[in-house]
């Protein structure tokens, strides 16, 4: 196990292993997202109060899950990079940030679109919406920090620290609806109790969530692979790969 993790920490090994894993995640993501969207948008029953507008949940919830998970992954990767100096963790963290920002935007935007027919407003400064907006700004901060330093090592360390400190926002997002009065309703899903919706509604949602996670993994593997080639361009194994040396 430890040997495997150590090997994974080496860019050359990561490059080889991810080449084999990547296609599976792409296929899984494509199949799950296609099946989930078709099922959720066309076959799942409409809600008794919201009618068809409730189907926005099939994009909103997976995007919001991913937005938060990516930030946590980024913080964990930053932690590994800071303590153990594993370069691959920093490369992965750098590659995750734009997707995380995009997913946060999708969650906010789909929430606004959903808010108009259900709440009667597209934005309200309640704790859940505001903390999610802060998450978007944290992502922008991480991305901007990486571009703000001329030395890559300083940039990586600054971005890792911001990700690790910013992760405090994640429990605030999660529990905002329980700690304070908000316009946003409390969570429909929890680990400990059964979902507050019937199986024919949550099954396609689960498929969409899994599909979004597979997409995130596949995209991160793909982008980290090209980042490895970019950063290690002068290394022997990369030049060998490019056919520059025998």
């Amino acid at each position: 196990m430890w040997a495997f993790i150590h090997k994974l920490g080496s860019p050359k090994w990561f490059y080889a292993i991810s080449a084999r894993l990547q296609p599976w995640f792409w296929v899984a993501a494509a199949v799950l997202i296609l099946v989930g969207s078709a099922w959720g948008l066309a076959f799942a029953p409409a809600d008794y109060q919201q009618g068809n507008s409730f189907r926005i949940i099939y994009v909103h919830v997976p995007a919001a899950f991913l937005a938060q998970s990516i930030f946590v992954s980024m913080a964990v990767a930053g932690f590994i990079f800071m303590v153990w100096k594993i370069k691959i963790a920093d490369m992965a963290a750098a590659m995750m940030a734009p997707l995380g920002a995009a997913m946060t935007f999708v969650a906010l935007f789909s929430g606004a679109v959903w808010g108009v027919p259900t709440w009667g407003t597209w934005w309200m400064w309640d704790a859940r919406l505001t903390s999610m907006l802060i998450l978007l700004f944290l992502y922008f901060g991480v991305i901007a920090l990486r571009g703000a330093f001329s030395s890559r090592d300083s940039a990586s360390r600054a971005a890792s620290v911001l990700a690790m400190v910013g992760v405090i926002n994640i429990p605030i997002i999660k529990y905002s609806v329980d700690w304070w009065y908000t316009l946003h309703q409390p969570a429909t899903f929890s680990v400990t109790s059964r979902p507050a919706m019937p199986v024919e509604m949550w099954a396609p949602l689960l498929i969409m969530v899994l599909g979004f996670y597979c997409f995130f993994i596949a995209l991160t593997l793909m982008r980290t692979r090209s980042e490895i080639l970019r950063r290690e361009a002068s290394k022997h194994w990369v030049r060998e790969l490019a056919g520059e040396v025998k």
């Binding site: 919201q50 009667g120 400190v165 009065y181």
Partner: protein, 171 residues
């Protein structure tokens, strides 16, 4: 683990926990300001300022909605099942506005204890269900607030009936 890494690990953990404590204390100090709305209990206790724009929230009391036939004027009661607040509003209500539903009203609290609303927002709860299940619950005589407790039960019953009659309900 080498001493240098161990030291780094403690520095990071220390930094993150300090930041967490700072954020936690800030949020604790701001707790009443982060709440989006006042509940009727808080308003009855005099926590909300008069004649300044505030937000109040709660459930629309069943049977309390009174619409004026000549205009868009509507009067209803918002309750948190402890205290009540009378709300007067003139305008178009959101689609999800109904009795037993959560609402947030934006407006000014008047001297004699009622609220003149400029905006009414519907709150949605975390429960979702297909119309057939909701209808079955209504026919069985349950109030909307009991729906979720009973939804699973009725859903299972409907599935069992479908299986018994062999019509192969697929969804």
């Amino acid at each position: 683990m080498r001493a240098k890494r161990k030291q780094k690990l403690f520095v990071i953990l220390g930094l993150v926990s300090l930041a967490a404590i700072a954020v936690g204390l800030t949020l604790y100090a701001l707790r009443s300001n982060i709440n989006l709305f006042f509940s009727p209990v808080q308003i009855a206790a005099g926590d909300a300022p008069l004649e300044r724009q505030i937000r109040a929230g709660g459930m629309v009391k069943a049977g309390s909605v009174d619409r004026d036939k000549q205009s868009l004027e509507v009067v209803f009661t918002v309750t948190d099942y402890v205290d009540e607040l009378e709300v007067r509003y003139s305008g178009i209500l959101p689609d999800l506005f109904r009795e037993g539903q959560g609402v947030v009203v934006v407006g000014e609290l008047q001297q004699d204890g009622w609220l003149r609303a400029d905006q009414v927002l519907a709150r949605h709860d975390e429960n979702y269900m297909p119309p057939e299940v909701a209808q079955a619950l209504e026919e069985a005589g349950y109030a909307p607030e009991d729906y979720q407790a009973k939804a699973a039960e009725v859903g299972q019953k409907m599935d069992a009936q479908a299986e018994d009659s062999g019509d192969g309900r697929t969804n």
